[in-house]
């Protein structure tokens, strides 16, 4: 473990320099300042390590770059990646599903007290601008990490969890729920940003791209709205790491996190499963028990 200092950014910079100088890795994947707040950066030169930052505006889940489909990233060689607790769950997911080998990546864990919804602006993290999913997270640091930097952080401010919104929707009648979701999903242009940004959406060929037969309407027609969004949420059952990237990337501001949260709760209630950053646990959808509940089957 790397020695702790008071200034977390200095820690991060020095550790990165060390990793590059000792040729342990060929690039550091972290965050740098950009015009609209922090943004992802690949650092390959020791001198550029000064650019690395981490704070409450570093919302991106960098594990998305570790998917084997990202062949240009793979060409860089061995990477060190800056990971928050949620990002580490995504890395664990990739390892669990044989998309990544643990020894192929160096994980620089950062202590995190929650991030903002929008990386642009927001000097201070407050109850008004905190990302809702951070209020559902009780991990202030990743367990799956080779190094850990930053000072211990308090839990994020605020208490407006999405569970209240879920209960509100669940209290509606089926007709009202269908009207609500029909309206929310009607904004979908099928740009698939939610899929591209998701660290766990790594299929070589997505079913949404297949046109013979067309299971999911590819044009932004109402016909494919439920098919796409239910399939996306279902394919992430027991795999979604709750990093909130799909919702942040959505240009139509569809509350995709609600669907993911709903599925996560079903998986937790029915199968006692919670997504962790331990790569050795099996996913609930790939496993079964002989005595699984089947009260809904005649």
């Amino acid at each position: 473990m790397f020695v702790l200092r008071v200034n977390s950014m200095q820690d991060l910079k020095e550790l990165s320099k060390k990793l590059l100088e000792q040729k342990q890795v060929s690039a550091i994947l972290g965050y740098e300042h950009g015009r609209r707040g922090p943004r992802p950066v690949f650092v390959t030169e020791v001198a550029d390590c000064e650019r690395l930052v981490f704070d409450h505006r570093c919302v991106h889940n960098l594990a998305a770059y570790l998917s084997p489909r990202r062949t240009l990233v793979a060409q860089l060689g061995r990477l060190a990646v800056v990971v928050k607790a949620c990002d580490a769950r995504a890395v664990a997911g990739l390892i669990r599903e044989s998309q990544l080998k643990r020894e192929d990546v160096v994980l620089i864990g950062v202590r995190c007290g929650g991030v903002v919804r929008d990386p642009n602006g927001a000097e201070q993290l407050s109850a008004d601008n905190v990302a809702p999913r951070c209020l559902e997270c009780d991990k202030r640091e990743p367990a799956l990490a080779d190094h850990l930097v930053g000072e211990p952080k308090p839990p994020p401010p605020g208490s407006a969890s999405r569970d209240a919104r879920l209960s509100e929707i669940e209290a509606l009648s089926p007709g009202e729920r269908l009207t609500l979701w029909t309206s929310l999903l009607s904004r979908c242009t099928r740009c698939h940003a939610c899929r591209q940004v998701c660290p766990m959406c790594f299929c070589e060929r997505c079913i949404a791209d297949k046109t013979q037969p067309t299971w999911i309407e590819t044009s932004p027609h109402a016909r494919g709205n439920l098919a796409w969004h239910l399939t996306r949420a279902l394919h992430l059952a027991g795999r979604c790491v709750n990093c909130g990237e799909c919702e942040r990337a959505c240009p139509a501001h569809i509350p995709l996190g609600l669907l993911n949260r709903k599925v996560a709760r079903v998986v937790a209630e029915r199968y006692g499963y919670r997504v962790t950053d331990d790569p050795s646990t099996p996913t609930p959808i790939g496993a079964y028990r002989l005595d699984d509940e089947q009260e809904f089957i005649q």
């Binding site: 009607s186 699984d292 809904f296």
Partner: protein, 152 residues
């Protein structure tokens, strides 16, 4: 939906798609047929190798293309021809059913059942029960983007 009858009431005959496994339910449905059990004619059967092959997209596609109800049926637990296909399907549909309910698709429109090759009577019950339930619910015209008629 049919035109109003002589007494002014609208009679609605639901269109129901059944996804069944080849080894148990399809044979059970065959038994129901050869036994001449009275069954509603509203159900169209699609035969698949196993419930494990039934993707949740099949159900959504059926609704998109004008179905008012769906039946998913296969071998009882421990009877799967492929040992574990129905166990995997059970988990998938358990999660999907709750998600479907969450977005407002009435779960009464989708029947999940285990029907073995010897349960012709149970298949008739599943068919008649589902048809009656969906008839009460009416046509599923609120499904987003549903085709207006079968040929469209």
């Amino acid at each position: 939906m049919s035109a109003p009858g002589a007494d002014g009431t609208v009679s609605f005959e639901p269109r129901i798609i059944a996804f069944v496994c080849n080894w148990c339910t399809y044979t059970g449905a065959d038994l129901a047929g050869t036994s001449r059990l009275p069954m509603a004619p509203n159900v169209r059967i699609i035969r698949l190798p196993c419930t494990g092959r039934i993707d949740t997209l099949f159900i959504l596609k059926a609704f998109e293309r004008g179905a008012d109800g769906v039946i998913v049926s296969g071998c009882h637990p421990a009877d799967c021809h492929y040992t574990s296909g129905n166990y995997h399907a059970r988990r998938r549909f358990a999660i999907f059913r709750e998600l479907m309910e969450f977005v407002g698709i009435d779960p009464r429109r989708v029947t999940f059942s285990w029907v073995s090759a010897s349960e012709g009577g149970k298949w008739a019950e599943v068919v008649n029960g589902t048809t009656e339930r969906v008839r009460q619910l009416g046509p599923f015209e609120t499904y987003p983007g549903r085709v207006r008629s079968a040929g469209e």
